[in-house]
């Protein structure tokens, strides 16, 4: 009995391993006896797999070549993509092909995919698919205009939920911006009437609108010429449009264009922006640089004084200045308004009553060093 069971084990292993990787080849070194085991395999009447065929799935084409279809009608039911969806048809998750546009069914081959069969819908009875590769696509518009003006206006003002919820906030923001704009505009008008008193009311309006637009572009990062030319272009385009709308005639257009250009050239000669975008009398770049140098010397004088709040004074001088550009102001702050001065100034030999102790990491020695500094090393003290 033992002999019998051992051999049975061997044959089981053989069938398990030998089929997959054929490790027990013909000249295998297994020398023990191998016996074929046949177990009882007499089947009962009938098979377990018998009588299991399902009903037909009703696959196949539901529309034939040239047949007319409406959107959504099924053209083909299939398992897998026996036919691929071509032009104006869609494909479902079970690969059902259906029409997306009304038209005529076409079965065709596409030279780009030589091994695929396609089904498509041609919009006309005459047209064939595929449409040539470089030809414009045939497209159906399919939308219908609303004739009733009342219904049309309702539809036009219709908002979806997201837009509806966002609207109050957007309106409020817009109102705020417009108020701000009006404020700046009136300020500009006031400043401009002081700088060039002989300007008429209309000219004043146009000039301040122009300068406001230039300011916006400058603040937005445009350079000077780009900002000015854009503002001019916008005005000229508006003039052209009012000519097109017949609000003004040709001679009026010409006159207003000329006067506008005169005004602009005058503004360029007589008005400048300071660094806070306020209007000032024209200031050339050289004049600005002399002012910057003056500011530098006043700051240096403040730094020499012994007042306790000199750091704050210097900061105020820098950031309230209308002479410095933003980058210059930052540079000034870095050079003059340093809270701690470099170590060339005010390092004391020993820690005493008058010295302030600072700590610093020494990279070479890999440790913290203690340095005593006198009060003159600190602007804030």
């Amino acid at each position: 009995m033992a002999f019998w069971s051992a051999n049975r084990n061997v044959s089981v292993i053989k069938s398990a391993l030998g089929l997959a990787s054929n490790v027990f080849s013909k000249n295998s070194t297994l020398s023990g006896p191998i016996l074929q085991v046949r177990t009882a395999t007499k089947r009962a009447a009938g098979s377990r797999t018998n009588m299991k065929d399902s009903a037909g799935r009703h696959l196949g084409p539901k529309k034939n070549e040239g047949q007319q279809v409406e959107p959504g009608q099924i053209i083909m039911r299939q398992r897998g993509t026996k036919f691929f969806p071509g032009e104006n048809v869609g494909i479902g998750k079970d690969h059902t092909i259906f029409a997306l546009e009304p038209g005529f069914v076409r079965f065709y081959y596409d030279p780009f995919h030589p091994r695929r069969r396609f089904v498509g819908v041609a919009l006309d009875q005459e047209s064939r698919l595929p449409t040539p590769h470089f030809a414009p696509r045939a497209r159906r518009f399919g939308y219908v205009p609303i004739e009733d003006p009342k219904k049309a206006s309702i539809e036009e003002t219709h908002l979806n939920r997201k837009q509806y919820l966002a609207k109050p906030k957007l309106d409020e923001d817009l109102k705020f911006r417009e108020q701000k704009r009006a404020k700046t505009l009136s300020q500009y008008q006031k400043d401009l009437s002081q700088i060039i008193p002989e300007l008429e009311a209309e000219q004043l309006n146009i000039a301040s609108e122009h300068l406001l637009l230039v300011r916006n572009h400058l603040k937005n990062g445009s350079n000077d010429t780009e900002a000015r030319s854009t503002a001019i272009a916008v005005h000229i385009q508006n003039l052209k449009l009012s000519l097109r709308k017949r609000e003004i005639n040709d001679s009026e257009f010409k006159n207003s264009l000329d006067s506008y250009q005169n005004l602009i050239s005058r503004l360029e000669k007589e008005v400048s922006f300071d660094s806070k975008y306020n209007l000032i009398k024209f200031r050339s770049e050289e004049e600005r640089i002399t002012l910057v140098n003056e500011l530098r010397s006043t700051i240096e004088e403040v730094l020499k004084s012994n007042s306790k709040d000199k750091l704050q004074k210097v900061k105020d001088l820098i950031f309230n200045s209308t002479v410095l550009t933003l980058s210059e102001a930052v540079k000034f702050k870095r050079t003059f308004a340093k809270s701690v001065l470099p170590e060339s100034i005010g390092v004391s030999e020993s820690v005493g009553k008058n010295s302030i102790v600072t700590k610093r990491w020494n990279y070479t020695k890999q440790r913290v060093e203690v340095i005593a500094r006198t009060k003159e090393a600190f602007l804030s003290k």
């Binding site: 590769h133 470089f134 030809a135 414009p136 696509r137 045939a138 497209r139 159906r140 518009f141 399919g142 939308y143 219908v144 205009p145 609303i146 049309a152 206006s153 539809e155 036009e156 916006n216 572009h217 603040k219 937005n220 990062g221 445009s222 010429t225 780009e226 030319s229 854009t230 001019i232 272009a233 916008v234 000229i236 385009q237 508006n238 052209k240 449009l241 097109r244 709308k245 170590e343 060339s344 020494n362 990279y363 070479t364």
Partner: protein
């Protein structure tokens, strides 16, 4: 840490601590091939130039901003020595190429055959690229400066090297993006059959301060932003003569509803012809250029996108062409067949751009500004 590194390190630390050691900075003795003359082949900022050619000195790399980062930075070991010999190798190569260019110049002055001359000029162009493309200063200038709004004293596109570098940069991303958008949005083949892009076209709407930047192809823009005409930049990469070449710009919209045929028709929204770019750097066509340059012919004035409610998103495709001769026609009708127009005038499409628009609340305002009738409102549901 190695001793040499440690020494260098402590030296750098000391140098930052004391002002006097500034004198220790070495002079720049290296220089590229003697025939390499353009200023744009040099690094403008002296400290960066010294760091590139002489190695990162005791103050640390100038490209790092904070003092702490500068102190902590360590160049890889052996790079200085390797760079010196590498520079010599590249420089001798460049010198050889410049010699070949001199020979080519004499050949060019002797030949009179037009075809041969063109071939020689192209060869010279490629040699000029070859002579400078390995120059570390050129590479530095190109890599770390603005490539679109370029400063011509740093990146000078009149030099073939910079054009070649920019072309590669463009082909790496922007060109592919443009082609993808044109194809996927069906601009090709709905307007023109196809495009072989050879120039980069950039579009910007200057009037609107919130989108005052170069527009990515395919972007959906608010109608408020597009209410005034756009500005273009045409960056040529091929060796054309910018003093003679004329360009046409067409902005077309192939999605205008055509109710009669229940289909779409194409509108020409803006057309400019006879545009001349003075050189490869000054290639911006903005309001200033259009106002001042009287040679530019406006085929049709600008009509902003004013899509109607409930129709699908409209595409606005800008096509830029090289034109063989001057075009001085003016159109009144906006119905436009771009294919026949291109064929009639022998235009050669070199680049394009696309943006999209759909109905929004500012359409009514834009319509009023341009004196257009109120737009049709369509049913929300497509029949």
């Amino acid at each position: 840490m190695l001793r040499s590194q440690l020494l260098k390190f402590s030296k750098r630390f000391m140098a930052t601590a004391t002002q006097d050691s500034k004198k220790e900075l070495e002079e720049i003795t290296k220089s590229w091939a003697s025939n390499s003359k353009s200023d744009s082949f040099k690094i403008k900022y002296q400290q960066s130039r010294r760091a590139v050619l002489n190695g990162v000195g005791p103050y640390g790399p100038p490209s790092l901003r904070s003092r702490r980062a500068k102190l902590q930075y360590m160049s890889p070991l052996g790079l200085d020595e390797a760079f010196d010999s590498a520079y010599e190798i590249l420089k001798t190569k460049s010198n050889e190429t410049y010699k070949e260019i001199e020979e080519l110049d004499t050949k060019i002055s002797q030949t009179k055959n037009v075809n041969e001359l063109e071939e020689l000029n192209n060869l010279k162009n490629s040699k000029l690229v070859q002579a400078e493309i390995d120059n570390p200063e050129v590479r530095f200038n190109f890599t770390y400066h603005d490539k679109i709004n370029n400063d011509s004293s740093i990146i000078d596109y009149n030099e073939p090297v910079y054009r070649e570098l920019k072309k590669k940069h463009w082909e790496d991303y922007s060109q592919m993006l443009l082609m993808q958008r044109l194809e996927q949005l069906g601009a090709i083949p709905d307007t023109l059959p196809t495009l072989n892009p050879r120039a980069e076209i950039l579009v910007k709407f200057l009037n609107h301060t919130t989108i005052n930047r170069w527009i990515e192809p395919g972007k959906l823009l608010p109608t408020n932003a597009t209410s005034y005409p756009p500005s273009f930049k045409i960056q040529e990469y091929e060796n054309v003569d910018p003093k003679k070449q004329l360009y046409t710009v067409l902005v077309v919209n192939p999605d205008v509803p055509d109710l009669e045929n229940d289909s779409f028709k194409t509108y020409l929204h803006w057309g400019l012809s006879n545009i001349k770019l003075s050189n490869f750097n000054e290639n911006f066509i903005g309001p200033k250029q259009i106002l001042e340059n009287k040679e530019i012919n406006e085929i049709i004035d600008y009509l902003p996108p004013v899509p109607e409610k409930n129709i699908p998103t409209q595409r606005f495709i800008t096509w830029v062409f090289r034109q063989p001769e001057s075009i001085s026609i003016n159109l009144k009708n906006r119905d436009f067949d771009i294919r026949s127009f291109v064929e009639d005038h022998g235009l050669d499409a070199i680049g394009g751009h696309i943006w999209r628009s759909e109905w929004d609340s500012s359409v009514a305002k834009v319509r009023e500004l341009y004196g257009l009738p109120k737009g049709t409102v369509y049913h929300r549901v497509r029949k």
